[in-house]
Amino acid sequence: MRRRSLVLNSIISAAAVAASVLVGGATSQAASAGGMAPYDPAHAGGTIKLVAAAAAGSLDPKINYTGQYWQLYQASYDGLLGFRYGDGKASFEVVPDLATALPVMSNGGKTLTFTLRSGIKFSNGQPVTVADVKASFERIFKVSSPTAGSFYNGIVGADVCLKTPASCKLDKGVVVDAKTNSVVINLVAADETIISKLAVPHATINPANSPVKDAGTTPIPTTGAYMFKSYDPNKSLVMVRNPYFKEWSHDAQPQGYPDQIQFQFGVTPTAQVTAVENNQANWAYDPIPADRLNEIGTKYASQVHVNPLTAMWYLPMNVNLAPFNNVKARQAVNYAIDRAAMVKIFGGSQLAAPVCSFLPPNFPGHTDYCGYTKGATPDKPATAWSAPDLALAKQLVKDSGTAGQAVGIVVSDDDVNKQMGVYLQSVLNSIGYKATVKPISGNIQFTYIQNTKNKVQISVTQWYQDYPAASDFLNVLLGCASFTPNSDSSINMAGYCNKSFDAQMNKAMALGLTDSAAANKLWGQLDQQVMKDAPVAVAFTPKQLDFLSSGTKNYHFSLQYKMFVSQLQTK
């Protein structure tokens, strides 16, 4: 996923989710081991005002694929399962939400049996029934949800639904019984990741009579603590309390504090900072402009929250296009980039750290290694990145016979990405290429660089972890199945497809069903192995900075969905 989009184009490991609770790692400043404190009505009321430069598209929870709205869906929509409301790593735990308990697995992991909670109503007063559950799963395919083919294609009958979405029926895949309130999900094959897939917003339960097309700006009734009152992408999004909501699980869907949540759009990042400083807004959504970082870090330090993220900024290189169809050219880029310099552009060492491994630090399978730093090679890696090796990079470019070739760098047109592009252009020119920077709108850059029709040679992009699963990075970003030529949904932007590597990843995923530790060890080896081919250059791992107004309290940070908006207090 990208900075703005909490995109789960990923295969998610439930076993790894559980393992994540065990692995050591960086924690949020505000993190604690547990979940939310009990609801305190004394702090309820008021309005939380959020500001952003732009809206994030459709409000339909089956369609929207952005972190901006997934952050709001936490407090409004529910699935059979959900991610726990908790600080830090506790937020990775999958808990029962509309289901009474985690599913009973049978038939070798191919059958999941749930019982739907009784007495829950949608925000329009309509009761939540098992028919809604079945219809919601069918709607994933009917509206062509972005993850229909990658997350839910393992449900029995999904293959037909993917071919003929309009008439999708999952009679054998999602079997419901209104008398017992049971929901049985049948899979074609056991899937270690299915638990997590069922906990994301695309699998939330919506009324059976929801439109069988993208609902766009029309809110779909919710089950959570809040519902959407109005939405104008050019102006604002307003959430109010769901009148039918009664807390059924403090872990999955706790009662919220503000009476209203207003998201105002069209506010530039620097104006967002000023608004928060002046208590005209509670929180600035967009990254804080580099020019204002020192100001908020000194004058407003107590209002700043910095949290580590398992994520990476990286440079996918198209392995099917010159010059990066030559492994030496790709390795040259890996040696040439000064990761510390890129960290500076991002905002400094307090907000990011250089890395070269594909799996981020504090992530299952991660090992401390760097094959592309001064004095190291992919076969004899150092433990960490220390400095670029421009001389070796130049030599590799010369050896590859690609010197002098033109290289286009596609970046988003926001300040930080453009600066990254200009820096990369300077580096590529210095090692012998003729580089140009092509900044394009951030709204389309992420899909543009995926489509092979656009002949993108190298780009700057980000991948933010959704779940602590190595497959979420390696399999999703470098697996053959993720490479779809001529498609905007080809998340394997490098176009790297190595059958042998794919087979080993399948082995690691299968191993994850029974032995997560062994699987993670294998993922770590695969990380080092694939980076010898250097389909990408990993630059650094970023942190999340939240800037709140002085009157905003009760900040909690989920490593899963970032800040809990519904838990913010103004009283």
Partner: protein
Amino acid sequence: MSIKESSEAIFSESPGKIALRTLRRDKRSIISLAILGFVISISLLAPVYAHFIAHTNPFNSSLDALAHVGGKSVPVLEASTTGLGLGVTPIGPTWNPSSYFLGADGQGRDVMARLLYGGRNTLLIGTSAAIICIVLALLIGVIAGYRKGWVDAILSRLLDVIWAFPVYLLAISLSVVLLTSGLTVGFIHLGPGSFALPILIIGVVYIPYVARPIRAQVLTLREREFVRAAVGSGAKDSTIIFREILPNIIPSILVFVPIIIALCMLTESALSFLSIGVQPPSASWGTIINDGLALLYTRPWVGIAPGLLIVLTAASLNLYGDAVRDALDPKTRSRGDS
């Protein structure tokens, strides 16, 4: 000198010489030319400044470079050491010509060196676009005004089409399209980073603004007695155009030149500010203002310096244009002499 002698002297001089003499006496002309001369000179000396004084390559990122301030070497990008230690700020003006005189930009590049190189590009593009604009406008205006009839109708509608679009909207649209993939016409290919693209785009969008008045003037001239006499005497069209029409519209063209250069320069800066003009790592005043926008709170000089130069240059060109107009206008001149 007696009034009679003076009058004889004036009548014995050509209008061009009179205009030149008037311009030499006009303070506006002298001041504006001095400013323009200064700006052009320092811009042309950009490589000298970068290589021999600042010892820097303003087109390479220098995030780890050092600046010399008060005998000490300090990083050009300074990490915050106060509060939470957030952010990295480029060094501000040192006012030392040999080391980051105006400070560094977000890539650690010397702003002063980029400013001078940027001036070269801005002036080059502005002047080249103005020349293209005026030459094409002259061609279209003279042909349309002289030929009249269907030729005039077609050319005038063509100008109307261009004129129908707001100039910046048209320039932005053309830039967005052409800068993505470049322009290929037959065997000529202009790459996305080529300066020829903004020159062509800017030159074309201003053609109607020059061609229309020229056409109107030619239409008037065509009906004047001396042109009718030339037609009546059987002179060729080309002879009439070059001997009778063109000499009479040259004063208007001379007035247009500085004004159109200023307009083209401003348009170039605007397009570059919007990232659809001069492409990195090249600089223009517009791109430097764009760089400065992200540093407005901490390093305002990055944006202010090119802004000041744009204002100074555009104002000087307009001032000079006014002076030229007055010098070429017999009525104004006579008022001034009286």
